[in-house]
C-alpha cells in the first residue's frame, strides 16, 4: 500500500556503556564528534529524515543509556520498534560478549511478532584506534552475526565518520521492510444488526 505520508521508523540503539552510541548518533545527525565522554541519562530522542529507495523516511532514533542503572525505563519502552541496532566497541571484548544479552533483553521486552526475522544491525565501533588495541576480530564478529540469522554487520568510526551513513542506510532499509511487508487488515468489520438483542446498545435505557 502506497503511503501518502512519510513513513516513520522507530530505531532503538543498544549496547554497553561507553561503546559510542551517542557519538555515533551525533556524527550521523549533527556531523559532530567530541572526544569527551558524557554518559547518556535515561534516553535521548533524535529525529532525522532520510531517503531510502526514493522514499522519504523519518527516523525516530531512541538512543538509550548503556549503564545498568538505567535499565528500568519500562517494559513498554522498546515496544513497537522497527529496527534494533546492537553496538559494541571493537577494542573491548566484554562489550562484544554482552551483545547476546542485549539482543535477548530486547526480544523479551519488545516481543516482536516475528522474533526470528526481526531486523537487527550490529555495529563494531571505534575502528579508528590503532590495530594493536583491537580485541574483537572482524571474523569473530561476522561469525556471531551469521549465527544470528545473517544480521548485517558494519565496522564504524564515529570519530572519523567511517561507514556511519552506510550503516544507517541499511538500518533504515531493513526497518522499512519490516514496516511495510505485512498486508493491511482493511476489511470492514461485520455490519451492526440493530434489531438483534445480543447487540443491544448498553448505554441506552430508553
Amino acid at each position: 500500500m502506497a503511503s501518502r505520508k512519510k513513513v516513520l521508523l522507530k530505531v532503538i540503539i543498544l549496547g554497553d556503556s561507553g561503546v559510542g552510541k551517542t557519538s555515533l548518533m551525533n556524527q550521523y545527525v549533527n556531523k559532530k564528534f567530541s572526544n569527551q565522554y558524557k554518559a547518556t541519562i535515561g534516553a535521548d530522542f533524535l529525529t532525522k529524515e532520510v531517503m531510502v529507495d526514493d522514499r522519504l523516511v523519518t527516523m525516530q532514533i531512541w538512543d538509550t543509556a548503556g549503564q545498568e542503572r538505567f535499565q528500568s525505563l519500562g517494559v513498554a519502552f522498546y515496544r513497537g520498534a522497527d529496527c534494533c541496532v546492537l553496538m559494541y566497541d571493537v577494542n573491548n571484548a566484554k562489550s562484544f560478549e554482552t551483545l547476546d544479552s542485549w539482543r535477548d533483553e530486547f526480544l523479551i521486552q519488545a516481543s516482536p511478532r516475528d522474533s526470528e526475522n526481526f531486523p537487527f544491525v550490529v555495529l563494531g565501533n571505534k575502528i579508528d584506534l590503532e590495530e594493536s588495541k583491537r580485541m574483537v576480530s572482524q571474523k569473530r564478529a561476522m561469525t556471531w552475526c551469521q549465527s544470528k540469522g545473517n544480521t548485517p554487520y558494519f565496522e564504524t568510526s564515529a570519530k572519523e565518520a567511517i561507514n556511519v551513513e552506510q550503516a544507517f542506510q541499511t538500518i533504515a532499509k531493513n526497518a522499512l521492510q519490516q514496516e511495510t511487508e505485512d498486508i493491511l487488515y482493511s476489511d470492514f468489520p461485520d455490519p451492526i444488526k440493530i434489531d438483534s438483542d445480543a447487540n443491544k446498545y448498553e448505554a441506552c435505557g430508553c
Partner: protein, 575 residues
Amino acid sequence: MSPIMEEILSDSNSILTSDEPLSPTLQPQRRLKSRPTTQISFDAYSSSSSGSSIKSFNTTPNKVDTGADYLLGLISKSNSNSATSSERTKISPFHNVKIGKRPHSKIMLTKEASSEEEELAQQNICIDSDVPLDNNGDDSIISRNDISVTLDDKEYSGYRRKYGHEDPQSITWSRHRKHFFILSSAGKPIYTRYGDESRISSYMGVIQAIVSFFADADDTIRCINAGQHKLVFLLKGPLYLVAVSRTNESEMQLRDQLSYLYNQIVSVLTTTQLTKIFEQRVNFDLRRLLGGTEPFLDNLASTMSDEPGFMFSSIQCVRMSKDLRDKVGSIMQSIKPKDLLYAMLITNNKLLTLLRPRKHSLHPADLHLVFNMVNGSSTFRSVESWTPICLPKFNNKGFLHAYVCYIASNVCLLFISPDKDKFFECSEAKNLLKEELSACNALQEIEKASQNEGYSIADIGVPGLRHFIYKSRTHVQYTSPAFVAPYGDPREKQKLYKLYCYTHDRMHSRLRPLKVHYYVSSTETILGWITCSFELYAVFGPLISKSALTSSSHTLLRWIKKEEESLFIVSSPVF
C-alpha cells in the same frame, strides 16, 4: 423552593441518553471508583490547591522524585535544546530531546522553565484564548526559512492546516495554550494539533518513556501539574492521548476532551479494527489509515474550546415552535427509507429534529461526532454523500452508514442506516422530503429558523442577566442565548467561557460536588445551580445584590419553563 424546580422526571421521553445519574447527590461516590492511579503535583502553588485531590500516591518517594525529573526533562526540552543549540540551530530538521534522572538538575531546570514562562507571558497578548486571536503568529511562521521538507507532503488532501507548518522549536509553537498529542503505544506520532507530527516524534518518545516508566510499576499516569501547565494523559489501549494546556481547564475537563478525540478516531476505524491492527503490528504507523481525517480532528480540537456542549455532555437545539418541529418530524416519519436507524436535521451545530427507533436513543457524544463530521468538511455542502461512520456510544465495534445532504442553504439532512447499500433509497427519501416540506412551506420556515444566530438575552427580559447556560438534565440538552455585547468580542467571549469552565468544574468536583455556587469576579457574578432536573449557570454584572440575583434567576427559570417546548426537543417522533 420555587415550583419550577420541582419538576417531575420523565426519562422515558428523553431523546438523548445521558451517562450521568440524574441525581448526582445520590451517588457522589460514582466517579471515585477509578483504577488506582497517580497524580503528581510538584509545584507549591498547585499542590496546595489540589493536594487534597491526589487520590492515590502509590509510588515510592524515590520513584516520584525521578518521575518529576522525567517531567522536568520534558518541560525543559526547549531549554535543554537551547543549551546545545549553538551548534544545532543551522541544522534544524533534527531534534534532540533528553529525559533525565539527575536529582541535582531539578532546581536548575525549574528555574529555567519559569524564566521561559515569564518570557512567554510578556509576549503573549491574547491570554485567554487557546487559539491565538490575532494572525500575527502566521507571519512569523512564514518568515522562518528553515522549513523545507514539510512543505509539499500535505498537498494530497488539498487541506492546508492552519498551523501545520509551525516549527516545533519555535516560540509560536510552544506559545499555543492547548496542545493535543496522539501517539501509539510504541511512541509513534499519530496527531498533533499544531505543527507536523513527524517533526515532533522526539517529544512523542519522551511521552512514551514517561508512560512506560509508570506502567512498569503497574501504575497509570493521569496528570502532571507544572506551574501554569497541566499535562493530562488518557491511555486507551494502543493509543496514548495527551493534552498540554495552560487554559485553566480542569484535569477532568481535559480528559473528557481527550475522550472526544479518541471517539473521533474510533468513528473512522472502529475499535475492532484499531485493536486488530495493533495486535498484529504494534509498530504500525496509524497515520496511514487516518490519512485525510486531520480536518475532523482539527475541527473537533478547536470547537471543544468554545462550545459548551462538550463540557456539559449535551447538545443544543434550534429554537422553533413546537408545531413546526412536530410537522417536520411527522413528514420525516412518513418518508423514512427502509432500514433506517436515525434521521435528523441539523444546522450550525444545533439539532432541528430527530427521528429514531423506539428502542434506541442517541448519545450526545455520538451526536457531537456527527456535528463534527458535517462541519469539519465543506464537501457535504455541494453533493449528496454516503459515508461509513462508527458511533462509539451506540456501538464501537462496527460501522453505520450516513447519508448526508444539505436540503437548504444551512440545513443538513442525515439518514443513518446499518445497511451499506441504502444510498439510493436515502436519496429518494430526501427528494420526497424536500418536496413535502416545500409544499407546506415548512422548508422556508426551518431555513428561516436556522439563519437566526439564536435568541437574544433581551428577549427574555430578566433584569441584570448578561448570559446563561441552562442544561435540562431530563432532556440532555442545553440552551444558551447568542453572545451579544459585551461578549460579542471574541476575547470577552473566551473570558466568559473560562468562567463557565471554572464554575462547572467547581460544581462537579469529584470530592465535593456542589449544588449552588456563587462567585463574584471583577467583571461578572456567576450563579451555578444544580438540581435533579437542571443545571443553571447565570451570569450577571459584578455589582448585583444577592436578592436581585435570586429573583432574576427565578424569572429566568420561569421563562425557560414557559418556552420549554420551543427551546428543547421535548418529544421526538419514534418508529
